[in-house]
Amino acid sequence: MNIRQKTQTQGLDHSDDEIELSSLMKASLNGDADGYRRLLQKVKLLMVPFVANSLSKFGLSSAGGQDDVVQEILLGIHLKRATFDVDQYFLPWMYAIARYKTIDYLRRNKVRFQSVSIDDVFDEIEANQLPEFDSELDLESLCEKLSTKQRDLLLLVKVEGLSISEASEKTGYSISDVKVTVHRAIKDLKKQLKENGHEN
């Protein structure tokens, strides 16, 4: 089950965003300026409605304020990009920064949170934008029980989308070896899911 299948199974359409942003972020960490610019543009597109919704919930809706918060989020992402773990999802990382920066802005503008729970408000906003990453169906934790060879080949073929022959070339294993290993890895994952009570 790759990220795309996982989020689609949950009726969410964020797999494309997650895959694209994760790969752009990985490239950016290696110094790819063009990829980084595309990443920030994409983040900006996601952040504009997020910030607008967040601020309007607290009665702040000036365009200048929204721009300020979006820029602070982009700066936060830039300054703290070393905290992004390439083995983790990008969107939860990005939204955690966005939430922190938005709350910071609200506090600086002396917005009072007594009447509403700030966490509830952000949970509601993010629920409309962020896929729910079910920990029980977490691919990484499921893969931990596979052998290193199984895990590496499964991720290459099913997550990164390489063909069997490309994976074979990249790893040095024979084509038939890759086929058999990936097949067994999927079988083991299915077994684990059944044991965890995910019959379907």
Binding site: L29, D34, Q41, L74, L75, K80, A82, Y100
Partner: protein, 215 residues
Amino acid sequence: MKTDDLIQKLSGDLKPVVPMPSPLRMTVFFSSIGLALIGMSFIFMSSRRDLMAQLSNPKFLFELTTSFVLAVTALVLSTFLSRPGRVTEIQKLQKLTVAFLIFVFGYDIVRVAQLSQNEIPIGLSLSGIECFLVVFGYSIMLAAAVLNWLRRGASVNPKLSGLVIGTASVALGNVTITFFCGIDNGLHIFLWHFAFPMLAAVSCSAIASRFLLRW
């Protein structure tokens, strides 16, 4: 400045970034600092007279281990708190840290409850301030080192990070004082080795973190 200009500026001079070490590596690093500080304490203070005998006492080793485990759990949590978006791990580690904290406090309270009337004044004696100062001093040094390092991270809850770092530091401070203080009175240990240093160090750490971990 327009947002698009900012994006151009940020991406214009991009250099590769070395990712932060994994939480596990950071925990090992912080624990090593803590252990080094414990080692240095032997230079400045003389160990309790019965230390060698105590090191073969299962009860003594159990108490040392529980404090150390609490410290390590809190340190792991502090490293995860410095990385945005790790909600699942943070929730699990928070529960684990609170469980260990309750266990350590509960264990100390049971020990206090077993004391006779004659032993209570010994525990309340102000001579315990010496132990408090050792634990507090140790905790402040370790917490400062951890806070300084975690400034490179991005804690989305600085106050909680401060509380957790303070807890870890006091737990390791508690391990330290166990090697030097020969008073085995339960009330003395509860008040001067744990409760008072915990209140003081955790408060300082939580306040400091609000300034040091802001980004």
